[in-house]
């Protein structure tokens, strides 16, 4: 296990390193990259040169990268060029807000999707299965932000049942009930999108297991059908589902860019778009790296979970996935 973990960890670090090089390179390759952005246009060439020097922008790009990497590893993500705020002060609140929205809708999706998919696997092409199929098709073909706008128009503007946007009402910062009301619409959008994938996945995972020989053995033993489904089949069907869930862990941190923008949710997705528009490179780099770390970590967790729940996979052996 340790040996496997170390190898996977080294792989992850390599990927993260490549991501950081690519992102840094991309931002410096851009016309009007950080160099121009950091220097006020009105400055005389001499002052500009001094400012460049102070900011380290006169050094070659590779050197700048090394300096940035060193600071990053020390936990220093730099400052925004506008207002000179530490990047961490901008990012961590956004991470927190995104976590609230994403984990709420994620857990809700799973509570609905997995039982629904299992039920559908036992009643193929029944009414419930057809409904799920319909939801899946719509969920995959619909622009999510459009669904959000339609929900806003109906539930907020027309019926005035739910708040239009934001995380809290103006005078109710930190109020949990108010937060819940604000969560309903964006979560509905995210749940629908998640359902499209998860219901289909848990159904097909379950169907595959139900066709296995050991299910026949269980029935031949006289195991009641309910137990065949929930004990013998489910334990096996959950293995690939867990893997997929692990991979989706990253979105809890990365956020849902479009949904957050529609509902003006102060999370990572919205921050990223705002920062991209105003070209706050240090914030963009930080968000990119945090997202990449989350993805890599999610995959790692998925891999480890997979090896823990499936006794067939010997830990440490390469290519264990069946």
């Amino acid at each position: 296990m340790t040996e496997y973990l170390i190898r996977r960890l080294l792989q992850s670090i390599l990927v993260l390193f490549l991501v950081s090089v690519a992102a840094f390179g991309l931002m410096h390759a851009a016309p009007g990259g950080p160099t121009q952005m950091m220097i006020s246009p009105g400055l005389s060439p001499e002052t500009a040169a001094i400012q460049k020097h102070n900011l380290g922008l006169d050094k070659p790009v590779p050197t700048q990268y090394v300096i940035w990497l060193k600071n990053m590893l020390k936990g220093d993500m730099g400052y925004t060029f506008k207002n000179n705020v530490p990047v961490g002060d901008v990012i961590w609140p956004a991470v927190k807000n995104t976590l609230v929205l994403m984990s709420f809708s994620w857990v809700l999706s799973l509570i609905i999707a997995i039982p629904w998919g299992i039920y559908n696997s036992t009643r193929e092409y029944g009414l419930s299965d057809q409904t799920a199929n319909f939801v899946t098709y719509i969920g995959f073909a619909m622009p999510t932000f459009w669904f959000g706008i339609i929900l806003q128009e109906f539930f907020s503007l027309k019926m005035d049942w739910l708040p239009l946007s934001d995380m809290y009402s103006m005078d109710k910062q930190g109020n949990v009930g108010d937060l819940f009301m604000h969560l309903i619409l964006p979560s509905t959008v995210l749940v629908l999108v998640n359902l499209a994938g998860y219901v289909k996945y848990s159904r097909s995972s379950m169907l595959e297991v139900l066709e296995q020989d050991y299910i026949r053995t269980a029935r031949a033993k006289g195991v009641p059908e309910r137990k065949v489904i929930f004990r013998h089949a489910l334990r096996n069907a959950l293995i690939p589902i867990i893997t997929v869930l692990g991979m989706d862990l990253a979105s809890l941190v990365a956020g849902a860019t479009l949904t957050e923008n529609v509902f003006n949710w102060p999370g990572m997705g919205r921050l990223f778009v705002d920062m991209a528009r105003s070209r706050e490179y240090s914030v963009l780099m930080a968000i990119t790296m945090i997202t990449a770390v989350a993805v890599v970590l999610g995959n790692l967790i998925a891999d480890i979970l997979y090896k823990l729940v499936d006794p067939r996979v010997q830990i440490g052996r390469k290519g264990g996935k069946a």
């Binding site: 020989d213 050991y214 026949r216 053995t217 031949a220 033993k221 006289g222 013998h232 334990r235």
Partner: protein, 339 residues
């Protein structure tokens, strides 16, 4: 004749395929006596497994449907029972072991748990009792250090060991009938012999009847009291093991026996192989289903399907060659040998 434990009459099982309804078994009739072994022999694709799955009524879960016939087990017709009612019979009075032991065991439970589950289902044993008895069962089927093995997962056991575990599960409730569907096909030759010995042993010890499904006439010769030969969904010949081997009648049976190394064909002496392949079930020839491959084919064979014709004591064959020997019967009209 001894008391019959299981009597199958005119069992027809169908599947829906792209080409419409296909009958995987066509009016199968067979009977198993108490404490005896019936071997169902035939090539793959002849409907042997469908027959066994139909008797267990597991065919319902494999998208098959029993279209007609009855399965009489100790005075009850299994065809008429609901799945709920079958649960107290399956794994309790009738058990089944399967072809591929590696895939027949649930990979996420230890073998001990899987045996104990069967005990707890049918005998209301406590968890500890069931576990202890599971270990005893493992010992009985010849697994060394059963206390350690019980805690292992199927993937940690060899194929032969897995099959022993499957047998232990099947025997947990001392069933009256054991259906073994090609129990040795997926195993090494040396292990095959061990498993067959084990089955024979347990049959004598526990008095269990066995329905053994195999494609191997050699296995049948070793294990069977009675033999039924299946071809393309129908039983073409059946009788006692002595009758079948001393007086094989249906040309298909003769052909099968020729395929055993060292067996001398009694008919004519010249060696022939069965030409052609088994027909697709959706595309059976008119008349006798064996006629395109039969070396003795007559005009009648191409037009009318033969029924069971008695060729010896407790020995029947579906072949027009023996029309004059016994009472001729046309298939489908009173096709009932044991009535």
């Amino acid at each position: 004749m001894a008391e019959k434990l299981l009597e199958v009459r005119n069992l027809t099982t169908g599947f829906l395929t792209e080409k419409g309804l296909v009958k995987a078994t066509d009016r199968i009739s067979l009977a198993i006596e108490k404490g005896k072994t019936l071997c169902l022999v035939g090539e793959s694709g002849s409907g042997k497994s469908v027959t066994s799955m139909s008797i267990m009524r597991l065919i319902d879960y494999a998208n098959g449907v029993i279209l007609e016939g009855s399965i009489n087990f100790k005075g009850e017709d299994l065809v008429k029972k609901k799945q709920e009612e079958l649960r107290s019979i399956r794994g309790n009075k009738i058990s089944m072991i399967f072809q591929d032991p590696m895939s027949a065991l649930n990979p996420v439970f230890t073998v001990g748990e899987q045996i104990a589950e069967s005990l707890r289902l049918h005998q209301n044993k406590s968890k500890d009792e069931a576990w202890k008895e599971a270990i005893e069962l493992l010992r009985m089927v010849g697994i060394p250090s059963p206390e350690i093995r019980a805690k292992q997962y199927p993937n940690q056991l060899s194929g032969g060991m897995c099959q022993r575990v499957v047998i232990a599960i099947a025997l947990a409730s001392k069933p009256e009938l054991l259906i073994a569907d090609e129990p040795t096909t997926a195993l090494d030759v040396t292990v095959q012999a061990q498993i067959l010995d084990l089955l024979q042993d347990l049959k004598e010890k526990l008095g269990t009847s066995i329905l053994l499904i195999t494609h191997d006439m050699g296995v049948a010769a070793e294990m069977a009291d009675h033999i039924a030969v299946m071809y393309a969904g129908a039983i073409v010949e059946q009788g006692t093991v002595e009758e079948i081997f001393s007086n094989p009648s249906h040309p298909y049976t003769v052909g099968l026996l020729q395929s055993i190394p060292g067996f001398e064909g009694e008919r004519g002496g010249e060696l022939y192989t069965i030409k052609g392949t088994i027909p697709a079930l959706g595309n059976l020839p008119q008349g006798c289903r064996f006629n395109p491959r039969c070396p003795h084919v007559m005009d009648k064979c191409r037009q009318v399907e033969p029924g069971d014709i008695q060729v010896g004591d407790e020995h029947y064959a579906k072949c027009w060659l023996f029309e004059e020997n016994g009472k001729a019967a046309v298939a489908g009209k009173g096709d009932n040998i044991h009535g």
